[in-house]
């Protein structure tokens, strides 16, 4: 909290000032200057959001991972007991700070830390990989700049530490063509996220379903408007920060690749919030699956993979929000992937491997699959906009006429 300064958002004047400062520092050709500017901008950005108690809680959240990472730095695979203990502490503290339902009735506190979920991903990545990252520098300033970098603080993307370090070394002035492309992308992102997306959000409020005289045009807008808003808002924000990093001669991971053209949910998660999907696969699904399969000595492999998948998607749901609706969202997506795999298996049994490939590649099949996936995603995203019960009640009122 900085007196007189509103919390810095991507569409604010303060963000413009910070971004311009960091870009000019990058263009100075001195990496140390760029790192200092990035740290300063990140500090201002975080300080604008945090009240004193938030800052204290954040210090409690960020100090242990640094100390553990420091201890494990470059020690090969010998993580010892520190790693599981740290993960437990970190996840526990995260749950306490986020006040998940029904814990929110017991854990009553005013703490609200912006970007905490993304910080959790970054610190867990750092401590898990710490034994293998010995070749890279690690200092408190670099750590804080990585975890709370001003351009990824609010909503990612989730960058790997090695990529972050490489970026701070290669920062500089990109070619004029790249500058032009980055500027273009940043402006497009601002238009998507802060001009078009709010219009769709306003037009997709659940109340429209229950208003007197509500018709199907209202229902369609409520149904499709919110997913469109989410996409434009999130991908527009990502465009701005990725473009900003590109202007500095560094690279942030991409987060979107035309997700609504996905032909199944598995493909969707490879196109929507990509950096999150990669993190979840690397640090939740793969280790969990390995552990389950190793424990069963190869028996019931399909069933155990499905269990690991469903558990992973419960985590995906819980990461997105603190209410039961998000668990339903995660389970629905997990179940859709399992069903998709079962369907693939049935097709293979009936048509053979080559036949299945030809069937799925057929334009009509692809079109139907894309439409089905798109509508499933739109349906599941209703859980983001409102509590499930309210959503259900509003649609019931509308459909009852």
């Amino acid at each position: 909290m900085i007196p007189g300064l509103a919390p810095v958002t991507v569409d604010s004047l303060a963000f413009l000032a910070l971004a311009a400062m960091v870009v000019l520092a990058a263009w100075s050709g001195r990496p140390a200057r760029f790192r200092a500017a990035l740290a300063a901008a990140s500090l201002v950005m975080a300080a604008s959001w945090l009240k004193p108690l938030d800052a204290l809680a954040l210090a409690l959240f960020l100090a242990p991972p640094y100390l553990v990472a420091r201890r494990l730095w470059g020690r090969g695979d010998a993580a010892g007991p520190w790693l599981p203990a740290l993960i437990l502490w970190q996840v526990g503290l995260f749950i306490a700070l986020r006040r998940y339902e029904p814990l929110d009735r017991v854990l009553v506190h005013p703490i609200a830390i912006i970007g905490l979920s993304y910080m959790l991903f970054r610190v867990l990545h750092l401590v898990i990989e710490a034994p293998l990252l010995g070749r890279l520098p690690l200092s408190p300033l670099r750590y804080l700049s990585y975890v709370g970098a001003f351009w990824t603080l609010l909503a990612g993307p989730i960058q790997r530490y090695d990529e972050f370090c490489a970026g701070t070394e290669t920062a500089g002035r990109p070619s004029p063509e790249m500058q032009l492309a980055a500027g273009h992308r940043a402006v497009n992102g601002l238009i998507k996220a802060f001009l078009i997306a709010p219009v769709l959000l306003n037009a997709s409020k659940l109340d429209f379903l229950t208003a007197p005289g509500a018709g199907w045009s209202d229902a369609l807008l409520v149904f499709y408007g919110y997913p469109a808003y989410l996409y434009l808002n999130f991908s527009g924000y990502t465009d701005v920060v990725v473009a900003l990093a590109a202007l500095c001669g560094t690279r942030l991971p991409e987060n979107f690749d035309r997700p609504f053209l996905s032909r199944n949910i598995q493909e969707f998660w490879g196109r929507w919030h990509i950096s999150f999907g990669i993190w979840i696969r690397s640090y939740v699904f793969t280790p969990l699956c390995k552990r389950l399969l190793n424990g069963s000595r190869g028996r019931h492999a399909d069933a155990l993979t499905a269990v690991a998948l469903l558990a992973t998607f419960v985590v995906v749901g819980l990461w997105h929000g603190t209410t039961p609706g998000f668990v339903v969202f995660g389970l629905a997506h997990g179940a859709a992937i399992v069903l998709s795999a079962v369907w693939g298996g049935l097709l293979k049994a009936r048509l053979g491997k080559a036949g299945r490939k030809a069937f799925l590649a057929h334009p009509a099949t692809a079109a139907v699959a894309t439409l089905l996936t798109f509508h499933f995603v739109c349906l599941s995203m209703q859980a983001f906009a409102n509590p499930l019960a309210a959503t259900w009640a509003a649609w019931a009122v509308f459909l009852a006429g």
């Binding site: 007189g4 000019l24 219009v199 408007g225």
Partner: protein, 391 residues
């Protein structure tokens, strides 16, 4: 190797952005922190009557050179404080627009608040941008909540208050319970259309739009503007240079309102529609609440100051036409009287004031104007509406 020109251009663009942003931030944080008070988002959608003033406001409203006031609303969004709300709602209910809301004068300076000094507590139901039709909904909504005043006074500002009011009178015949229903519930498609239209018209393409944009977004502009407005010579210069609108030359209405109010004049139909709605409100108040109802007509700049009207006529080369700024006012009073509704005309006491009674840059009543109106209303209420003063 020297940088290519495009690269240098980029460099200077980013540097300029940094400098401009830093200057603006310095003004916002240090030099002119009051810039936020230049504009406030004071309104909130209301399910029963479109929009209304936000509840529990406590803001400073600032327009340097014109006004600088503290403004409160109660838990219902009405001008005033929560501590007084119950007593005010049990007194006189005053319906009106921005002039009655008094967003440009302090809490205690609004004529509704000044009435308390005469033993007449009143609730100010007005909201900026509200027409009589919306205020009718506020009245019915409050009545449907079981609230009961001692009397109701509807305030009409000339010329804003004179409108066709299609359907508003019929709405008064609806059952009381309907007052709590969304009257104009927006639909998703309309909201989308409105949003897209706003988006399309969002880029400031005129000098006025650019000024408005800067006014709401730039502390530097606000500081410069307030600095100019605070210096009389520069303030006068801003007027001659066209940087500020001359209030005397503002008339965004039909000329028919100034022409003789004969049967062929379309403005007469609007005057009659307004009078009919007022009569409908009077009927509703008497029938549903069993209470007296009155009308207060507030004049504007051209009615109060003949010289201002003459200046506008000259500027628009309308000297040859038979135009009179009092015609609409007089016609409305006559139509209201013909329908048996008591009306108060405050033109004479306002014109008698030795000092200006409206703000220099807009037509709203200033503190002196509100004081005079309060005195006139307090003197008129006991006789016209039988409202006894209660100490």
């Amino acid at each position: 190797m020297p940088s290519p020109p495009i690269s240098r251009l980029f460099h200077w663009t980013v540097a300029t952005l940094l400098v401009v942003a830093m200057i603006e931030l310095a003004f916002r944080l240090v030099i002119f922190p009051g810039w936020r008070d230049l504009h406030h988002d004071m309104y909130v959608p209301h399910p029963a009557f479109g929009h209304y003033t936000k509840p529990n406001l406590d803001i400073r409203r600032l327009n340097p050179g014109n006004w600088d006031v503290r403004l409160h609303t109660n838990a219902l969004g009405m001008r005033g404080r929560n501590a007084d709300m119950a007593a005010e709602l049990a007194g006189l209910w005053v319906l009106g627009d921005s002039n009655t809301f008094g967003g440009y004068v302090g809490d205690g300076e609004v004529f509704t608040a000044r009435l308390a000094g005469f033993g007449l507590r009143s609730a100010n139901l007005a909201s900026e941008g509200h027409s009589l039709a919306y205020q009718a909904r506020v009245l019915r909504w409050l009545a449907a909540q079981g609230k009961r005043p001692r009397a109701v006074l509807a305030v009409v500002t000339i010329y804003h208050g004179i409108r066709p009011y299609e359907g508003a009178e019929a709405e008064l015949q609806h059952p009381a319970a309907m007052a709590a229903q969304p009257a104009d519930a927006p639909h998703a498609a309309e909201t989308l259309r409105a949003g897209l239209s706003e988006l399309a018209g969002g880029l400031p393409t005129s000098a006025l739009a650019v000024r408005t944009f800067l006014g709401t977004n730039s502390a530097v502009y606000g500081w410069l503007k307030s600095g100019i407005m605070g210096i009389p010579a520069l303030r006068a210069l801003s007027l001659t240079a066209g940087l500020r609108t001359d209030l005397d030359l503002v008339y965004p209405f039909s000329l028919d309102l100034l022409r003789p109010m004969t049967e062929g004049n379309p403005a007469l139909a609007e005057v009659r529609a307004t009078a009919a709605l007022l009569a409908g409100l009077a009927d509703f108040t008497r029938r549903e609440l069993g209470l007296p109802f009155g009308v207060l007509v507030l004049p504007g700049n051209h009615q109060l100051y003949p010289a201002a009207f003459a200046k506008w006529r000259t500027a628009n080369a309308l000297g040859g036409e038979d135009l009179d700024p009092l015609r609409a006012l007089r016609a409305l009073e006559a139509e209201v009287a013909a329908r048996g509704v008591p009306a108060l005309d405050v033109l004479a006491p306002l014109q008698a004031s030795p000092v200006r009674v409206i703000f220099p840059d807009d037509g709203h009543l200033n503190a002196e104007g509100h004081r005079i109106v309060a005195e006139a209303v307090a003197a008129w209420l006991p006789g016209a509406l039988g409202l006894e003063r209660r100490p």
